[in-house]
Structures are given as structure tokens and as C-alpha cells.
């Protein structure tokens, strides 16, 4: 692979994609050769093999990609361990502070609280310089985030400050800055969730409601979820090709979940209608939005979005079946009906898939 081509790969994920491409090509070439479809000359075979070997070596050196299935499995294991370790260390930092803070003076408490997240961030910088794949960096990132949450929360307790939702804005800013600086998806999720809570709680406070009551009105989450979905459209993410998917997924999950809850809990709506009517409105909206989500996912090739839309469509459908039939239908007949509907949906999607294939040909 030419120097220019490798330099154009922006991050490890792009390099891993290229590695997987090469692996898939090698497998397909081997199959074509064994079936007599394609025969490369000795010179061509050597040139291709040499090119792929040097490219994979270069990618492994620069980006620490996984070149074999075993390596991939080990990497997955390391990511899981990294997550569990990070959560455990973050919890440990929390509990340790609560164990010691009553025994030290207020100035000492403040110094520890402010220094902890800053030291965490400096630790991230140190770790990142020493590893190609940011396992330890991710662990330190989550610990730094937990330390900052503790910092703001405990400072509020020391000075008896009236709680507000603004803390979530600070936590979101911290998490998102570090997520973009180090391309850490876990911190991106923490930042998105914090931002979601801040936006939803603020919707309530703009109406004069106390911010902690935002959970009592799922509709407060809907504008926040929609705003999140618009982030990738408003802000280009050329250097972070995987990040837009997280905004879309969490944004749509929030919207669909809020509608699902309201389709069963009409009392929780702002609408001045009877609970039954509210539930009907949100059931219809739920189906509509789930359908639009599936369409958007198929149209723009967002696989996660398609799956999310399909899941919520099916959940809405099955909960309606339950509402209509569970009480009076014999149980075997209920499950038989649900199963047959699933078969019918499969046939419909199979038909659509065939039509799409024919259109492509």
C-alpha cells in the first residue's frame, strides 16, 4: 500500500476496515483459484502477496490492527475487560472519597476534588503516548469522568447548593471534549447521555417546572432526542466516521422509548386529553415514527437505525396484540397468532428484499 494511501487512513477503525478488506480478498481469491475461475501468473501472485504482506505489516505497526481471527477475539476480550475495569475503578474512586472526606478539612476536600479529574486527564495523555490501542487510556478516561462527576456533586453537598441540571452540561462538555480528542466511544456515550439529561430537564424548567420532575413527562425527552439526531447533519464528522451513528442511535432510542412509554401511560403526557386518547395518539405516532426510522435506515444505509426501528415496530405491535387479545384469547392461540404474524412479516420482508435485489440487477 502506498505511503499516501496509509496516510489517508484517519484512525484505527479505518485501518481495521482496510485490513478486513485484504483478508476478504485473499479468501475470495483462494476460492476462485481452487474452482478454476481465475488463475494468476506466478509473477502476479508474488506481487499481490508481497503487496498485501507489506501493507498488513505497515497497518499493524501504525495502527495495531487485528490481522487474524484470534487477535480479533482477544481484542474484543480486552475491550470488555477495559470497560469492566474502568467501571470498577470509577466506583472505587467514588467510595474511597466518601470514606475519607469526613476526616479531612474543607480546603483539603476541595483540593482533592478539583485535582482528581485533572490528574485523570493528565494520566490519559501519558497513557496514550505509550500505547497504540487506547485500552488504558479508556480506563483512565472513565475514571477522570467519574472524578469530575464526584467533584461537582460533592462540592454542591459541602456548600449546600440548591441542585440544578447545569451540572449535566458541565459533565457533557468534559466527556465530549475528551471523546473527540482521543476517539473514545465510551466517553462519547457518557457525554451524549449527560447532554440528553440536561436538554430534557431544561425543557421542563423553561415551563417553570422543577428540573428533577422531567422524568414525569416523557415528552420532555422527545425534542432532546430529535436535537441529538440532527447533530451529525449540522456538524461534519469526517475525522470521526463512527460517531454520527451514536448520536442517531441514542437520539432515536430516546424518542421511540418516550413514545412507547406514553402509548401505555397516558397520564404522563402534557396533552390535555383523557389518558386513553393520549395512549391512542402515541400508539399511532409510535408506529409512524418506527416506520420512518426503518425507511431512513434503509435509505441511507444506517444499519443500527434500521434494526432499532424494526425492534420498536415489533414491540409496539406485540404490545397491541397483548392489549387486544391476552385477556380473552386462549394462551396457545395468542402465541400462535403472534408467531404467525412474525412469519407474515418475514414473508413481506423477503418479498421486498427480492424486489430490491431484482432492481439492483
Amino acid at each position: 500500500m502506498s505511503e499516501t494511501s496509509i496516510a489517508s487512513l484517519r484512525n484505527r477503525d479505518a485501518a481495521q476496515q482496510r485490513t478486513d478488506q485484504i483478508g476478504a480478498f485473499q479468501e475470495e481469491l483462494s476460492r476462485l483459484q481452487s474452482e478454476g475461475i481465475l488463475a494468476l501468473s506466478e509473477e502476479q501472485q508474488q506481487r499481490v502477496t508481497h503487496y498485501h504482506r507489506s501493507t498488513l505489516q505497515e497497518l499493524a505497526t501504525r495502527f495495531d490492527v487485528d490481522t487474524t481471527t484470534t487477535q480479533k477475539q482477544m481484542s474484543l476480550g480486552m475491550r470488555i475487560i477495559s470497560l469492566l475495569g474502568a467501571l470498577a475503578l470509577a466506583a472505587s474512586a467514588f467510595f474511597f472519597f466518601y470514606r475519607i472526606w469526613g476526616l479531612i478539612s474543607t480546603p483539603a476536600q476541595i483540593v482533592i476534588l478539583i485535582a482528581s479529574p485533572i490528574l485523570g486527564v493528565l494520566g490519559m495523555k501519558y497513557a496514550r503516548k505509550r500505547e497504540q490501542t487506547p485500552y488504558f487510556t479508556a480506563v483512565l478516561a472513565l475514571v477522570a469522568f467519574a472524578a469530575f462527576v464526584l467533584n461537582v456533586h460533592v462540592l454542591g453537598g459541602i456548600y449546600n447548593i440548591t441542585p440544578s441540571q447545569n451540572a449535566f452540561l458541565a459533565w457533557a462538555a468534559f466527556a465530549l471534549i475528551l471523546a473527540y480528542a482521543y476517539e473514545l466511544k465510551l466517553l462519547l456515550v457518557a457525554g451524549i447521555v449527560s447532554l440528553l439529561i440536561f436538554l430534557s430537564a431544561s425543557m421542563g424548567t423553561w415551563r417553570g417546572v422543577y428540573w428533577l420532575s422531567f422524568g414525569l413527562r416523557p415528552e420532555d425527552f422527545i425534542p432532546a432526542g430529535l436535537l441529538l439526531c440532527l447533530v451529525p447533519a449540522a456538524i461534519p464528522h469526517r475525522r470521526y466516521p463512527d460517531f454520527p451513528g451514536y448520536y442517531r442511535l441514542f437520539g432515536l432510542l430516546t424518542v421511540l422509548l418516550a413514545m412507547l412509554i406514553l402509548s401505555h401511560w397516558g397520564k404522563g403526557s402534557y396533552l390535555i386529553l383523557s389518558p386513553k386518547n393520549v395512549e391512542t395518539v402515541y400508539q399511532l405516532l409510535g408506529f409512524l415514527v418506527a416506520g420512518l426510522t426503518i425507511w431512513a435506515g434503509v435509505h441511507w444505509g444506517w444499519h443500527g437505525v434500521t434494526n432499532l426501528g424494526s425492534t420498536f415496530f415489533v414491540i409496539q405491535l406485540y404490545t397491541k396484540f397483548y392489549d387486544w387479545w391476552w385477556e380473552w384469547m386462549p394462551k396457545y392461540l395468542f402465541f400462535l397468532t403472534v408467531g404467525l404474524v412474525a412469519v407474515l412479516l418475514l414473508l413481506i420482508f423477503q418479498r421486498l428484499r427480492l424486489q430490491t435485489k431484482e432492481a439492483a440487477v
Partner: protein, 288 residues
């Protein structure tokens, strides 16, 4: 990009802490010149568990409509006009057929509560207890209540009179400065942020008094800062009392009464409230 990220992340931490501490300085810069001195009856030691060595005092206060073994509608002074003053939309008449549906949508709001310490409201509240006891005694005479329930209420009433918190909610409002002008003595009146809720009282749900048309009433459900942190220099007395109390398990007390076996408050706490109505402890002194 990474070094910029480090700087930006560090800046967020520093700026956030500066904003918080600046708010604290602002709150304490305009502190009321006179502080309020409360006792163990009003400031009980909050339980913290073994994993937390921090110490806090919980503010105990009385809601005028909660007495004895029953809870009544909210206080009479928290009427529809007061609800509108704290921001509730009450344009639908309570007698309207759609009123219940409309008012069930009302969510809790933040407002400012006035707590009076050991004043007329406390005396009135105790008188209401006696009135309730007379009513229960009358029900017992008519065979509608048991003697046991009357004895329980008498016992509770006596204990409350001797050991419960003398802080009583007397007013609510949107503007703390305006409330302070109305209740100017900071040694007797605390103004603190609280959570309020709207009640729609239907005719069939009214617990006492002559039947009325449906009406609106407000309720203060909680103080937003009901636990006040105790710093290291103030906790010696409280730690000693906590150690003594570990020998006798404390039972839950609805009105914040002192633990069994303790008939007098053992410590006094001086509090100050600042410009943002956020409190802090000035002194903790032993009384017994």
C-alpha cells in the same frame, strides 16, 4: 488535537469549579447579619451509613396540615391565589367538568418557603392537635373509634409537644427578597427554596369539615436543601452524640421527635442563610 483536548478538558474542570465557588462567595457575601439558632429538635443528625464518613444535619419542619395519624388537605393559606403567585396556571375553574383532568397534569415547582421558629404558628399547630384529640375522644364516646387509637394519639401529641421541631411552614412565594421584606426577622424566619405541588381536592376526597365544592390547595412537599453539611471543625459534639445513640436504635419519627430516652435537645446549631438562600453552619454547641 490531543493536547488541545487536554487543555480544553482541564479548562472545563477549572471553569466549572470557579463558577461553583464564585456562587458560594456570592451567597455568603450578602449573609443576613443575624443568624438563627436552632436545636437538636430542628436539626437532627442525618444517617450516613458506614461507607460515608461525612456528617450532615437534617432540617426537620412541620407542615401545618399534617397532624396526628392523618394527613389533611394542604394549609389554608396555600390557596388558589398563592398557587397562581408561584406560577401555576389555574385559569380552569375547579368546578369545571374537565378541571380534574387539567389539574392532574400540574407538576411540582420550585418556590420559596417561609419557616417560622417557635412562634405563633407553632402554638396554633399544637392547639390544632388538642382540637383533633377532642374530636377523636368524641368519636370514641360514640363508639366510632377505639380507645387504643385515642391513647396512641395522646401519647404522640405529648411527645411532639415536648420534643418535635418548632419550625412551621407559614408562607410561600416566588420572590425571596419580597418574602424577606414581609418577614424581616432572620432570627425567627427562615426563607428557603422548596418544592411545591398542586392538589385538586374533590368533594368525595375531603376528609374533614363541611362538604365544599372542589377546590385547589397547595402543598410544600420538601425543602430543596434539607441536609446541611457539617464541616470537620463543627462535628466533634455530633460525633460523640452519634456514638452514644448507636447504643439505642432510633425509631422513625414522623414529626422529627428526639429519640426515645432523650427528652431535651443536646446541642444547638447556629445557621446563616445567604443571598441565594443557601445555608451554612456557623456554630454547633453542646446544650446538656
Amino acid at each position: 488535537m490531543k493536547s488541545q483536548g487536554i487543555l480544553a478538558g482541564g479548562a472545563v474542570v477549572l471553569i466549572t469549579n470557579i463558577v461553583i465557588l464564585a456562587g458560594v462567595v456570592y451567597n455568603r457575601s450578602g449573609a443576613t447579619p443575624t443568624a438563627i439558632t436552632l436545636t437538636e429538635r430542628e436539626m437532627t443528625i442525618a444517617s450516613s451509613g458506614e461507607e460515608n464518613t461525612g456528617r450532615a444535619l437534617r432540617v426537620q419542619w412541620q407542615q401545618p396540615h399534617i397532624r396526628g395519624l392523618e394527613q389533611r388537605e394542604g394549609p389554608e393559606w396555600f390557596d388558589q391565589a398563592k398557587l397562581e403567585a408561584v406560577g401555576y396556571d389555574c385559569h380552569v375553574s375547579p368546578t369545571d367538568p374537565n378541571a380534574e383532568q387539567f389539574y392532574q397534569k400540574a407538576l411540582p415547582r420550585k418556590a420559596y418557603m417561609v419557616l417560622e421558629y417557635d412562634g405563633a404558628a407553632w402554638v396554633t399547630w399544637l392547639k390544632e392537635w388538642e382540637h383533633d384529640l377532642d374530636w377523636t375522644a368524641d368519636r370514641v364516646r360514640r363508639g366510632k373509634r377505639s380507645e387504643e387509637s385515642l391513647n396512641k394519639e395522646k401519647e404522640l401529641s405529648e411527645r411532639v409537644k415536648q420534643t418535635a421541631s418548632r419550625l412551621v411552614a407559614v408562607d410561600i412565594g416566588w420572590d425571596p427578597a419580597q418574602l424577606r421584606r414581609q418577614y424581616p426577622d432572620p432570627a425567627q424566619f427562615i426563607i428557603a427554596p422548596a418544592l411545591v405541588e398542586l392538589q385538586y381536592i374533590r368533594t368525595d376526597a375531603q376528609k374533614s369539615g363541611p362538604r365544599r365544592a372542589p377546590f385547589l390547595r397547595g402543598v410544600v412537599s420538601e425543602l430543596l436543601v434539607d441536609e446541611i453539611h457539617v464541616s470537620l471543625e463543627h462535628r466533634a459534639i455530633l460525633d460523640q452524640i452519634q456514638r452514644e445513640d448507636k447504643q439505642k436504635p432510633r425509631q422513625w419519627s414522623r414529626f422529627g421527635q428526639l429519640p426515645e430516652g432523650v427528652d431535651q435537645p443536646r446541642y444547638g446549631v447556629t445557621l446563616r442563610y445567604g443571598k441565594r438562600q443557601e445555608p451554612w453552619i456557623v456554630t454547633v454547641e453542646k446544650l446538656l
